[in-house]
Symmetry: D2
Subunit: 247 residues, 4 copies
């Protein structure tokens, strides 16, 4: 039935479009050209380097862009172009605070997979210190779907499982639109997140109604710009090649 409706509409459409074309052909195309503003350049000379307008947060050398989430210096280990969770030193977060961003980040769970479920290669990328994209070894490792790699933790299950084997580098490309509140503090526009895991779309502009929480439901709370935070969940997860573009 629905199909029939679409067929009929489609026929109607063709007829209508042709009818439209007639009146359209008489229209001047100039009034629908928009010449300003002219988009600024964001050069991207290769697929492996950050674009020219990116802020590089980690280029393999040092933690100069990071502090400990507990205060003080970031204490994760830097070696061979990667930084690695130093167990029990706490998460680390960027010195800068961000609103709307495009974020590229690469991560790797330990090649010797020990533990099960949430206890295997667990870490996390927190946008604005609140909204977690889960990092986990989800290669043949069962856990709750809204807590596996790529999940917006306990809010959105990834569309597919694009996980690579432990020990292999993986990537997240994230578009984050910060939540917008009215002056009264009401959440008017939720945060929205789009995520590609290893180049595969796993979230398409999903609404995030509040901070990621382990227990209970998220509750929206007004806030401004905030840092990007990487979680210390006790596993030796590594990160590299981190850059962000402010939108």
């Amino acid at each position: 039935m629905k199909h029939l409706v679409l067929v009929l509409l489609s026929v109607a459409w063709t007829a209508q479009v042709q009818a439209q074309d007639e009146w359209r052909e008489k229209l001047d195309p100039k009034p629908t050209e928009v010449w300003k503003p002219v988009p600024v350049v964001s050069a991207s000379p290769s697929f492996s380097l950050p674009p020219s307008d990116a802020i590089v947060l980690f280029d393999g050398k040092d933690l100069s862009q990071w502090v400990s989430a507990r205060g003080g210096e970031a204490k994760w280990k830097v070696a061979e172009g990667a930084m690695t969770v130093q167990r029990n030193t706490g998460g680390i977060k960027t010195k800068r605070e961000f609103g709307d961003v495009q974020l590229h980040i690469e991560w790797r769970t330990p090649s010797e997979a020990t533990g099960e479920g949430q206890n295997r290669g667990n870490s996390g990328v927190y946008l604005q210190e609140r909204y977690e994209v889960q990092v986990l070894d989800s290669y043949q490792n069962e856990t709750y779907a809204n807590g596996q790699a790529g999940a917006l933790y306990k809010q959105h299950i990834p569309m597919v499982n694009a996980s690579r084997k432990p020990g292999e580098w993986q990537s997240y490309d994230i578009v984050f639109t910060a939540p917008r509140f009215s002056e009264k503090g009401t959440l008017m526009v939720p945060a929205y997140v789009t995520v590609f895991h290893n180049g595969v779309l796993i979230h398409n502009h999903v609404p995030v109604m509040g901070p990621s929480v382990y227990q209970g439901l998220p509750v929206a709370e007004a806030h401004g710009k905030a840092a990007i935070l990487l979680q210390d969940h006790g596993d030796a997860v590594s990160y590299r090649n981190i850059w962000v573009r402010e939108l």
Copy 2:
């Protein structure tokens, strides 16, 4: 003032979160775990190969997935792993029809840039045969902003200009959500498009209110699945490495 409001809200938030933490700590975390459905696997063994659940539309060898938009065989030229617009043979479109997709496509405008504005390296990627992501040599080539490379033609200006030089390969990574109509044919949910140009975000889930038109304004018309179409605009634009994932 707004800043002050945010600061105050932020303070309130910290206090409230801490208060929340108290009641939260007593909650059982299990009821917010979701174990099913389990996301299916979409393996992505490397960054240069299509994911395992992709439909390859062009792998450099032949036009077996394509027909001419005018009917009959696709007549574009295939050589050296690329296919190139054969002037005046018309556009080509996929044999398959698609709804919601993730699309990867690479393109290159002629290395000898001749012509100006819309007359330099012009082609286009049409989603569902209606919604055009503009292909154009926009490297140091002035034209109207809503008609330059990456524009949702005459509907959305790209956020930045991420164009490479003519003769260099460029990429689009596109997430397309098809428009949804009510049974009465009313547009209930517009098409939404997210586009990365050479890895740089240029459209973030922008609404597309109707088919791309040269003259006048777009008018929404109900339709079902439809092909991906590449435009013959008279310039020898090349394409390669085209794949799509149905969402």
Copy 3:
């Protein structure tokens, strides 16, 4: 700071708009006129009667548009222009099934408020048999916020509490956009709900990620059109003046 940015942008805007006006003034206004399609008429001769294109689901006389949610005839009581939950006979649902709708419905909780929290004047309006707008006596009656009158049950807290006293008629004006799934069954566009309670906005196009559930988290499941269902929660809640417009 943000304020300053806005002030500066605002100044820039004024300058730019004036600049724009110059080039705009030369443009022909005709090409941005759209003459078709012509919207059909939906006459609304008064504020107390349904519009001319509405389907009246209850006009105070009988339950001819309804069946029991358990199967068989609807067994609620009709008297004095209202229909009232007949305890333990189960919910009732419309014979027709709906997709996207505008729904008007009036309801009244018993004037003698007995019980507390969820046990006082509890019923519910389910869109598509799955998505509940809570009906409850929330006049000076504490309960969890995501379960009070007007809540999208356990998914969205109403923006304000617009409840009237028990025994008074109240209204919901609801705009419901049905969820859209891809052919693979993936939720591509969540259901969206806008609700006015007694004329006051309490939800503005909030996403509903899955069916309302008492325990655990909602899980999206693909479905087609479905009925409007009114819940029997054991309290003698009354309804009247119910109409719906298909969008």
Copy 4:
């Protein structure tokens, strides 16, 4: 085919839901209750009076809330509980500036319909001084559809024509979400508008990509809070019963 898919999915759904019910039944319902924040009260004692948290912009008596859009005092005529465009005195706008609002406004075009198309009973309600909901006598009066009563001028055609006869009072109930820009001035979230015309839904959360313009296409420009403005288009259109709630 799609229908079949939905039927199959529906069967799967029933099975799955029942399966879900089993594990769900074991879950504690408490962790998905949210007790705070408690929504504040917005009392709405009757359907004809503004809610208790509304700002009354015109109650039939004077123009104390308004100024001329040209500067200086508002010069429209107040009589019999209505205010009427005083030709050539210019539009009027509120002294207050607004962000996100729910707006109720009533309007009436002259009972003697003179002129045709855009020249019959023309005025307009501008949100944030930029985004126009068209006011026009569109009762049996042909004009371009994106310029008739209720149109988001030259951006969105109303879903239906809910117009009453000239000389009769009509209402708009509008929900307006202000556009959100990034700190760089990029439009991150467009303005969204929902409109009921005489109680009939004519726009459901439609995106407004830039200010309403007579010529050419709208171009988004960052701005902060701004007034509500009523247009003087030379016709003696009247307004009454105007109130707004800040969201």
